[in-house]
Symmetry: C2
Subunit: 342 residues, 2 copies
């Protein structure tokens, strides 16, 4: 692909600031007529987009921001969207969403469409496959092209951008400690997101809490559910061969499935088994028993990500890009009916 | 806004087919050199987009389609999305989503962005406010600009395009009949979507079923919940002043709220009150008791809408646009624990 001509490139060519180029293209009287003419001539000859001339704006001033979510059926991400949208509206941005379905190529396609002038910047929560492949060049390319980028929830250290995360290790640590302080010691874990950064950190936190309480980590109690695995079979094997009095589920869908399987197998919740699920979407508060959950405050995280993005877009506009920031949002355990509190 | 130059306009100017113009712009040897030159000159002078020249494609060949949904928290729409995406992938299209939040202006903004070259065509389920205002000129404009348009679920007769709907009147008729055939005669209705086409049709179907079974329609049993109304208060008034042994809820969120209020008020479901909810998202099958629901087959509807759109885009490409079609998808009553079957 031929490199697109940006204000930055033109500014570099003339060895002046982006603001000067922007003003020259807008025909501002702040700039000498001579300079205006030479900049406009250069831009025209090199195919700088004429409609953007007309608007007098930078290449990417679409007043739209993008959001790439791993899936749409998870209501946690719906909450993230509401937060993003609220702040986007305040700043006069529309929001478009792409769903990666946890697929690397779909994430790349969405990113390329966004970079290709559809949005000013975008917020992404990484696809599971991308985190598995560890290939992030599409994002690095976006940043190079002056497209604003913020990562949320599922992030990577390999891309230098603003991030909004929860302390996943700490959140799982706290949930495990909650079980232990309420006399549960045989704590199993269910993860359908073992390949994500988030899933790995939560397992770390769970193990650390056990270790700090002198409970031996039993790898057999960590149920990693792959795409082709049957959760019910895996659960039956563990529950049939080991004493389990508590279950920590790392994500909402798996929590609901686990709850239904436990009920089907006639376990009493919380009497026989206590249950805590991650991410407080809509489902966990409507099932019976209502499930105690680790709230990640999705709306707040979305708001914060959009605040970061709006600030970044302003910085890009003014060519004063500051170093990247990471906001860690504290999680809360929302106590409901699926756990016993002593 | 200055009218965008389209292949159609150019074709009209030269009084030839769009295909001829397209080929002339692509510099195809099918077209005489003279014609090619005059078309290219005209297009250039009138600002026909040069990047599209380069691609040799029609203005709207983005390989992306748009989807405007009224909200993201309703899992029925998430199912529609999965269906759309599946067929979009088969045809090599990416999907971008905009959420109107049932707001007219947001729907207009999304439509304008889509028309402005972001997508080849789009699928929309109308915002409640749009149906209230009955202003559909943004969609008519899209069609004029050769952008493919398909409406799904919430549609209007005022726009001439392909549509995928359920027979909402029939679906509500069937649900009401289901109650009656199982000895329920005091049937109340809860609607939070009274202003949508869908909501109105469902109320019609409900009334017709009562009338056909010689049950007097009592307007007091029709609970229309507005944005600022409190469902619990409205329900208490009706349940306190009238005998009610069945409740038909026209939408998923209201069904869940109604269920929780009934449980709080110590009604036994289905012994005291039977409950049927519309749209079989995720929630209704996970609550206790599991709620009998009218399944609209969201995935299938999404698939059908995308099939219509893909066909329409092909027609637009070939300049052979056929008349509009409407597909009516049959609903099914999924019997669960919230109703008694005699």
């Amino acid at each position: 692909m031929k490199k697109k001509l940006t204000l930055k490139t033109i500014a570099k060519h003339f060895n002046v600031s982006i603001a000067t180029i922007s003003k020259a293209l807008k025909n501002s009287y702040d700039i000498s007529e001579e300079r205006r003419k030479e900049v406009q001539k250069f831009a025209k000859e090199n195919g700088y987009k004429p409609n953007i001339f007309a608007l007098g704006l930078k290449r990417n001033k679409t007043n739209t921001i993008g959001l790439i979510l791993p899936n749409i059926l998870n209501l946690y991400f719906a909450k993230v969207f509401s937060g993003v949208e609220k702040i986007a509206n305040e700043h006069g941005y529309n929001v478009v969403i792409c769903i990666s379905n946890d697929n690397y190529q779909k994430e790349v396609d969405a990113t390329n469409m966004f970079v290709n002038g559809t949005v000013d910047g975008f917020i992404v929560s990484l696809a599971e496959e991308t985190q598995k492949l560890q290939n992030y060049s599409h994002f690095k390319n976006a940043i190079k092209q002056d497209v604003g980028l913020v990562m949320i929830d599922r992030v990577t250290d390999e891309v230098n951008c603003d991030k909004v995360i929860v302390n996943d290790a700490k959140a799982a640590y706290d949930a495990t400690e909650y079980f232990i302080s309420n006399q549960r010691k045989n704590i199993a874990l269910v993860s359908i997101i073992s390949h994500t950064s988030v899933g790995k950190l939560r397992i770390q936190g769970y193990k650390k809490a056990l270790e700090n309480n002198n409970i031996l980590v039993d790898e057999n109690l960590i149920i990693r559910v792959g795409k082709n695995d049957d959760l019910e079979t895996l659960l039956k094997v563990v529950l049939g061969s080991r004493k389990v009095d508590a279950l920590l589920c790392l994500e909402e869908t798996a929590t609901i499935s686990t709850l239904e399987i436990l009920k089907k197998l006639h376990y009493k919740i919380p009497e026989n088994i206590s249950l805590i699920g991650f991410t407080n979407g809509e489902l966990l508060q409507h099932v019976t028993p209502k499930v105690t959950s680790v709230s990640q405050h999705g709306v707040f995280m979305g708001e914060q990500a959009m605040r970061f993005l709006a600030a970044k877009l302003k910085e890009i506009e003014e060519d004063k890009v500051s170093s990247s920031k990471t906001k860690i949002v504290k999680t809360t355990i929302l106590e409901r009916e699926s756990t016993i509190k002593l």
